[in-house]
């Protein structure tokens, strides 16, 4: 009886260890630090080596297509200093930017910060924050 149970335990341990290894290597491949624009600037040199995800609002009028890439800026107000910090982004991803990617949308870009201060992103998500939730939190704004 003992030996049989040992087999089950051994089988389960092998499975779990394999999965844990796969999880670890998958994590290494796809992980990214999620930061705000000001946190990004605060982390200094580390910012150039890490893979990053940065969130901010798309600065109105900043979106420009340039061949296959799209240049734009995102900005965010720092919660403590109340200063608005801006980041220039060059999107070079394979996928088309999502439909929700418009002026003032909340965008999350994923990629790396170049030494020239331009954030090169190959992934992007966006949502129109203003349209849905900000308003229903404060009631619908009077239509203009």
């Amino acid at each position: 009886m003992k030996r049989k149970q040992l087999k089950f335990v051994a089988g389960s341990v092998v499975i779990i260890l394999t999965l844990a290894y796969l999880a670890y290597s998958g994590f290494k491949e796809g992980n990214a630090y999620y930061q705000t624009v000001s946190e990004l600037y605060a982390s200094k040199d580390q910012a150039y080596t890490r893979r990053l995800k940065v969130a901010g609002d798309v600065v109105p009028g900043s979106i420009q297509r340039e061949g296959k890439s799209i240049n734009f800026m995102i900005s965010q107000q720092d919660e403590k200093t109340k200063q608005v910090e801006t980041l220039t982004v060059k999107y070079v991803g394979n996928d088309a930017p999502p439909d929700t990617f418009v002026d003032r949308a909340q965008a999350v870009v994923e990629g790396q910060l170049g030494r020239d201060g331009v954030f090169v992103a190959n992934k992007m998500q966006a949502k129109c924050a203003s349209k849905y939730e900000k308003e229903s939190a404060a009631g619908v704004r009077k239509s203009d």
Partner: protein, 678 residues
């Protein structure tokens, strides 16, 4: 109408509270009338919430923008069916819808089971109404859908006003799949509350045989089926609405529906071990508790904006309440489980690693591992922030690396498990059952390898698919052959009758086959390619055996939206096969005009050609068209349909045997089935 809705909610709240108190007090005092009144109150809750939903629907239909929820999620020109589906288009309404389904399920459970399980039912009512109380409290106090539209004055005091038009339904949700996807998903999520309630009732009353499992078997299957449909529809929606060429991205909101599905699947399998062998009793309790908690957690994830997601859901106050509810429900259930451990002793032990029990055990182990991995990956930003102070997100590679091998191993078990004998499978039976399928599958594997399928996982997945399909065909063939030689039925009749006589077993095989098809479609994703081009009228673009030619670029205008539209001819090996119309729409409602992509898809069994209108060039003379070549995608949807069909078969009651054998030699299984019917 809003006042009626408001009143219905308030009444529902009171009645729900009363139902809990009356049920519990009635049991304590052994007062039958009080128990019955608790039951009636639970039915009353259903009536109240139904009225509230009806009021909300009416307000949408007449576009009453004095109600905030209506103003925020509808507009005058919205087609009526989208107005109705706006009921679950936002936070408040979708929670109300959740709550409504829960009361509807509760009412149904009561009607079905009140007489049969008189000892358990008052507790079942109390648990269901406890959950319902949480939701009615949310409707009434936290996210009330009947709140008035207000205009915030400069001193921040609200002033009621009626906007001229509403903000409109999110254009991405203006899609037939989105009309039915949320209800299906919710029917699944909420459905697991029923087996959970029975499990808790069983523990409280110490009726810990398999009564609760038998009673809720169909409920669990129904919930699982709806959840599967919901997930499939969500994938289908993402595929044709979001325009990135795929249907699954491991987004937190997708994961939210996947987690209860994974544990629910484990539960569906492991209850069979308890029914047949009296084992895994504690385990099953843990699974159903986790399934229920994961359903609530899924609702929390989608509704609280706790984790960053592409889905533009709310940052809202509901998160804290949901977390509190989860903690209370989970700790209560686990405490009860711990207290009842002595009653949940296993009647048997695992005997061999090559046995049905063991295959179920491994099935459970890896389904749970999959769920854990998905949970961990989804929550990692929060976990890492708590542990190290920096938010770290994991990407699709993490989920794929863990879950692809798990899925392939599951496929293996799908083929092997159902044919293994209980207790211990003999070497002979292994040879008999698996030798030919394994040899054929491997031989096809060798052929595939030389025909160019050299991606390891894809290869393994296809070989497994062939293996599992063969074992399933063999099962049907064996059963039908035996039956037709015994009864003189034709082969086809034999297959049908065989299935109808043991719906659960053969329905299960059909579900497994659906899973195989789904898997084949999913494997196709490994070979997706795409191309992109700036194209004017007459320009062509080629991808694999296809060529696209732009015939027309134009503008279309409707009251609801305006769109840029391309008319494109698709040629396969130079022969025209279809006209495709990818567009970019601009919806008119709301202050900010958001473009949406309407993809156009040419779908065959072999592959999909998926066109995206990415945008126009500045001079307006050319369109940027992206084309995806997605092999085998159609099989994902067909697999989903087969999976649902299989579940429906498994839900049918078994047809009675016409030629009754003498009762004393009836197998235990059949006797149990007869008992069940009585």
């Amino acid at each position: 109408m809003a006042q009626i809705g408001q009143f219905a909610l308030a009444l529902a709240w009171v009645v729900t509270a009363y139902s809990i108190v009356a049920s519990l007090l009635g049991i304590r005092l052994k007062h039958d009338n009080l128990i019955a009144s608790g039951r009636n109150a639970a039915l009353g809750t259903f009536v109240c919430i139904t009225s509230a939903i009806a009021c909300l629907g009416y307000l949408f239909a007449v576009s009453d923008f004095s109600i905030k929820y209506i103003a925020a999620h509808s507009n005058r020109d919205l087609p009526i069916y989208f107005k109705v589906s706006s009921i679950w288009g936002g936070q408040e309404g979708s929670l109300l819808f959740w709550g409504w389904l829960l009361t509807a399920y509760s009412a149904l459970v009561i009607v079905q089971n009140w007489r049969k399980h008189s000892a358990m039912m008052p507790y079942v009512v109390a648990v269901l109404m406890g959950t319902s109380f949480f939701f009615t409290s949310m409707h009434l106090f936290i996210v009330n859908p009947f709140n008035q539209t207000v205009f915030l004055q400069s001193d921040a005091s609200p002033l009621p006003f009626v906007p001229h038009d509403g903000n409109g339904l999110n254009p991405l949700l203006q899609d037939p799949y989105m009309v039915i996807h949320p209800p299906m998903l919710y029917l699944g999520f909420v459905g697991f509350a029923v087996p959970f309630a029975f499990a808790i009732a069983a523990m409280i009353t110490k009726q810990l045989g398999d009564t609760w499992i038998r009673t809720t078997r169909r409920w669990t299957m129904v919930a699982w089926m709806f959840l599967s449909i919901g997930i499939m529809l969500g994938g289908k929606w993402a595929y044709h609405e979001l325009g990135w060429g795929g249907f699954w991205a491991w987004d937190p909101v997708e994961n939210a529906s996947m987690m209860p599905w994974l544990i629910g699947t484990a539960f569906l399998h492991s209850v069979m071990v308890q029914e047949k062998k009296g084992m895994l009793k504690v385990w099953n309790m843990v699974l159903i508790i986790l399934t229920f908690i994961m359903s609530i957690f899924g609702t929390l994830l989608t509704r609280s904006g706790m984790v960053q997601s592409v889905h533009a859901f709310a940052q809202s106050p509901v998160g804290g309440y949901f977390r509190a509810f989860i903690i209370v429900a989970l700790s209560g259930a686990l405490y009860l489980l711990f207290d009842r451990l002595p009653y949940l002793k296993s009647e048997n032990q695992m005997e061999s690693i090559v046995s049905r029990e063991s295959s179920f055990m491994f099935n459970n182990l890896i389904l749970l591992a999959a769920c854990f991995a998905v949970f961990w990956g989804t929550m990692f930003p929060i976990i890492s922030e708590a542990a190290t102070g920096s938010k770290i997100t994991v990407g699709p590679p993490f989920f794929n690396k863990v879950n692809v091998p798990i899925a392939i191993f599951l496929m293996f078990l799908t083929g092997v498990g159902p044919l293994l004998a209980w207790r211990r499978a003999s070497t002979n039976s292994l040879k008999r059952n698996f030798l030919s399928p394994a040899v054929i599958a491997l031989a096809s594997g060798v052929a595939l390898y030389f025909r160019g399928v050299q991606h390891f996982y894809a290869w393994l997945s296809i070989v497994m698919s062939i293996f599992v399909t063969l074992t399933i065909i063999r099962e049907f063939y064996k059963g039908a052959a035996a039956r037709s030689s015994g009864t003189g039925e034709t082969f086809l009749e034999a297959i049908v009758n065989l299935t109808l006589r043991n719906t659960r077993r053969y329905g299960g095989y059909v579900v497994h086959f659906g899973f195989v098809l789904l898997f084949i479609g999913w494997t196709g994703q490994a070979f997706t390619t795409d191309a992109e081009g700036e194209m004017g009228v007459g320009d062509t673009l080629s991808i694999r055996e296809y060529t696209l030619r732009v015939d027309k670029l134009g503008i279309e205008d409707t009251p609801n939206y305006a769109s840029d539209k391309a008319t494109i001819s698709l040629f396969e090996y130079g022969k025209k096969v279809a006209n495709l119309y990818p567009e970019k729409r601009l919806y008119k409602a709301g202050q900010e005009k958001q473009p949406t992509t309407e993809v156009s898809i040419y779908s065959t069994a072999k592959n999909d050609v998926y066109l995206v209108f990415q945008g126009g060039t500045r001079d307006g003379k050319k369109a940027i068209i992206q084309v995806f070549y997605n092999p085998l995608t159609m099989w994902v949807w067909i697999g989903g349909i087969v999976l649902v069909a299989g579940t429906l078969i498994a839900l049918l009651p078994n047809k009675k045997t016409i030629l009754r054998r003498r009762p004393e030699i009836e197998s235990k299984e059949e006797r149990k089935e007869v008992e069940e019917k009585v």
